[in-house]
């Protein structure tokens, strides 16, 4: 028995003025960035004023969107058509941050795109929340540099932070976020929390205790815990490292409250009714399993799921001819030594039908576990998607 899932109505979501944020998530390499960009283009061409926050676009796709620099500034994407089909005539990809009022009522839409610079985003938070001297201390500290550029989870956290900033700016009618290339789809939801827990951890409090006690000599008021820690760390790492660490931790204390508060705000934003999560998966076991976890997780967090996009599906234009019949016919021709071309083509077709059947089964697994989740399909293109035409085509397929 085949189970049919409800269809995901992409245009209804894009056209709904109440949709303010779309988050594309899923495991690595499934097509999140491509989907985010295609949704952005489609929404803009349907008249909305959109910004797409991408994390790791393929080089050529980035170029096609005018993203040549990693600079955290939304760039106007050229070549976007207005709803009546004309191309928008903006020249240059100059940064523009003024307010816009696109809407789906037929007025001209716009697409801006930006690439996340996680370190810069982190730096900006520090600068916004600490006085200049403190900020300088933090920014030059080796522990901060490590945290801001290589802590697993910083990228996820900064994507969220950037989303919050874009939303608070009020400049955008619709924000579409691509999520970082973590292996697991869930990393995206867990990472900010992990970073928060980490900064809130016991050790940080221990290390911060001397600073909190009024800036007196760091070693005067230490509690027993700190003594042990300090002794061991000095022995293993050396005194300078300990000093760096302490300076880092106490400076961080100043910006810490702001940190938490912002993380909580963004979290609430993700739960708001104007947000729509789009999960992307390829029709393969691992990706579909991740998608399932994600559906459950979103439900737990009470975050609004729009549906699942199954990307890179293989279909056949000759689907009526089954794999079995095709193989049998190929064998027949081969044994007679006739019609080599037809025999080879039938073999190819049989392989494709088998693949399509496997993919169909993976989808059915998903649908039997989550029968109410709407699904949209995008076929595998013969070539990579790296220009606006390609994105437009993906957008059409998403909506059909």
């Amino acid at each position: 028995m085949t189970k049919t899932a409800p269809a995901l109505d992409i245009d209804a979501i894009l056209d709904d003025e109440n949709t303010r944020i779309i988050v594309c998530c899923g495991s690595g390499g499934v097509g999140k960035t491509t989907t985010a960009a295609a949704l952005g283009l489609r929404a803009a061409e349907r008249g909305r004023s959109v910004v797409v926050l991408t994390v790791d676009p393929a080089k050529r796709l980035a170029q096609a969107m005018g993203l040549t620099e990693l600079d955290n500034i939304p760039r106007l994407v050229k070549g976007v058509r207005s709803p009546d089909g004309a191309k928008s005539g903006h020249d240059g990809s100059q940064a523009s941050t003024g307010s816009r009022g696109g809407s789906p009522d037929g007025s001209r839409g716009e697409l801006h795109a930006m690439m996340l610079d996680m370190k810069r985003t982190f730096d900006e938070i520090i600068e916004a929340h600490a006085d200049p001297e403190r900020a300088r201390q933090i920014l030059t500290n080796p522990f901060y540099q490590s945290l801001s550029s290589s802590f697993s989870g910083t990228q996820e956290y900064m994507a969220m932070e950037k989303l919050g900033q874009l939303r608070r700016s009020g400049d955008w009618d619709l924000i579409i976020v691509d999520t970082p290339p973590s292996r697991s789809a869930l990393d995206f939801l867990d990472a900010p929390e992990r970073l928060g827990r980490f900064l809130d951890g016991r050790l940080i409090r221990i290390l911060m205790a001397p600073a909190k006690a009024g800036g007196r000599s760091a070693f005067k008021l230490l509690n027993a815990g700190f003594g042990i820690v300090a002794g061991a760390l000095t022995k293993v790492l050396g005194a300078q490292v300990l000093k760096d660490l302490q300076m880092f931790v106490s400076a961080l204390d100043a910006v810490f409250g702001g940190f938490r508060q912002r993380a909580e705000q963004t979290y609430k934003l993700l739960q708001a009714p104007g947000t729509a999560f789009v999960i992307v998966a390829t029709p393969e076991r691992d990706a579909i399993r991740e998608a399932s976890y994600f559906v459950e997780r979103l439900a737990e967090e009470r975050m609004p799921l729009a549906g699942l996009v199954i990307n890179r599906m293989h279909r056949s234009p000759a689907a009526a001819l089954s794999a079995a019949r095709s193989t049998a016919a190929a064998e027949d021709l081969e044994s007679r030594g006739e019609h080599d071309l037809a025999a080879a083509v039938l073999r190819l077709h049989a392989g494709r039908m088998q693949l399509a059947a496997r993919e169909q089964r993976e989808q059915e697994h998903f649908t039997s576990a989550h029968p109410t989740v709407p699904i949209a399909h995008v076929p595998a293109m013969a070539e990579d998607v790296h220009d606006l035409d390609g994105l437009r085509e993906i957008g059409e397929l998403l909506a059909s």
Partner: protein, 334 residues
């Protein structure tokens, strides 16, 4: 020991990197089996705490302990170790400072977690350090314990930093114990006894990442190994058919005749319609094949040995691993 000539004779540490999802863990496991074949002893190391090795060999989660997990074709043992940076840190404290009890206290207080999480490069140096130790380890009679060590390493985007340990801990320690340890590790990782292999697919992004990664390694003075092109689909059609298809010059009439001869079409109209649909499929396939050919040519520019591993129809299960190991040996990578 076998005296086959392989491309990596003399290499004892094989580091396997690649874009996420291209098959690093799978290829690392297959390479370990291939290297162990014929009676050798190989250690397969995992570092990201994902228990990918256990999954692929269908085993319960691996502890922080070397244990035998598979027997290679023709005898030979594959051992596995899942390195946990926290445990490696405790090892290190105990080994170099005799701080066993202190280590426990530090763990309880979250210090170990903290240090291995954000101390610049400390986590990496602990993991590479543990691996180097296994590479160098000798038994009582002075013989190497492992003939080779294979590491399922971080993805391409992080590999150079990960291996470039001395650079990484420079901000942490210019002198002192950590620095000495890093220098020791660097001695192993940057030596001709190490090779960093890349796993790629015949797709644009993984190919680009591979070339970028190779360039970075060269720049950092780290030893570049081979490229394992994974999930290669068989070429199902003869070249002349593919060429005709990309030019849209496929012989529809001949195809329709063949379909009729095979009894797949009722009448001529029917045959023509099916032929047209199938021809579309062939055109798609031909385009993809051409794209793959282009990516293959791009990879060739890296100038390092390349090996092709087939796409396994049933995914990479245990039987599939042995198949990949065989392909690795047949092409002289092990």
């Amino acid at each position: 020991m076998s005296s086959r000539d392989t491309d990596w004779d003399g290499v004892r540490l094989h580091v396997v990197t690649g874009k996420g999802g291209t098959g690093k863990t799978t290829v690392a496991a297959a390479l370990a089996l291939a290297l162990a074949a014929g009676g050798r002893k190989v250690l397969l190391v995992e570092i990201e705490g994902r228990q990918g090795i256990a999954q692929i060999f269908d085993l319960p989660p691996l502890p922080y302990e070397e244990r035998k997990i598979a027997v290679a074709p023709g005898g030979g043992d594959v051992y596995a170790l899942a390195i946990d940076p926290e445990a490696a840190m405790l090892d290190y404290l105990e080994m170099f400072y005799g701080l066993k009890r202190m280590g426990k206290a530090l763990t309880r207080m979250g210090v170990v977690d903290f240090a291995t999480t954000i101390a610049p490069g400390l986590r990496d140096v602990l993991v590479t350090g543990k691996t180097s130790e296994a590479v160098r380890r000798r038994d009582g009679s002075g013989r190497r314990v492992y003939d080779a060590v294979v590491m399922d390493a971080p993805p391409t985007g992080r590999i150079t930093r990960f291996l470039n340990v001395t650079q990484e801990v420079a901000g942490l320690a210019r002198v002192g114990p950590v620095k000495n340890h890093a220098d020791l590790v660097r001695g192993v990782v940057a030596s001709p006894e190490t090779a960093v292999h890349f796993v790629s697919l015949l797709e644009e992004m993984p190919v680009q990442e591979t070339l970028d990664g190779i360039a970075e390694l060269h720049e950092a003075g780290l030893p570049v190994g081979g490229i394992f092109i994974n999930m290669v689909r068989p070429v199902d059609l003869p070249k002349d058919v593919l060429d005709a298809a990309v030019k849209n010059r496929l012989d529809h009439a001949e195809l329709a005749l063949g379909l009729k001869a095979a009894g797949l079409a009722g009448g001529s109209d029917d045959a023509t319609a099916i032929a047209q649909a199938l021809a579309q499929e062939v055109v798609d396939h031909a385009h993809r094949t051409r794209l793959e050919k282009r990516e293959r040519a791009t990879l060739a520019k890296a100038g390092t040995p390349r090996y092709e591993l087939p796409l396994l129809a049933d995914g990479a299960d245990l039987a599939g691993l042995y198949e990949l190991a065989e392909a690795i040996r047949a092409q002289g990578a092990a």
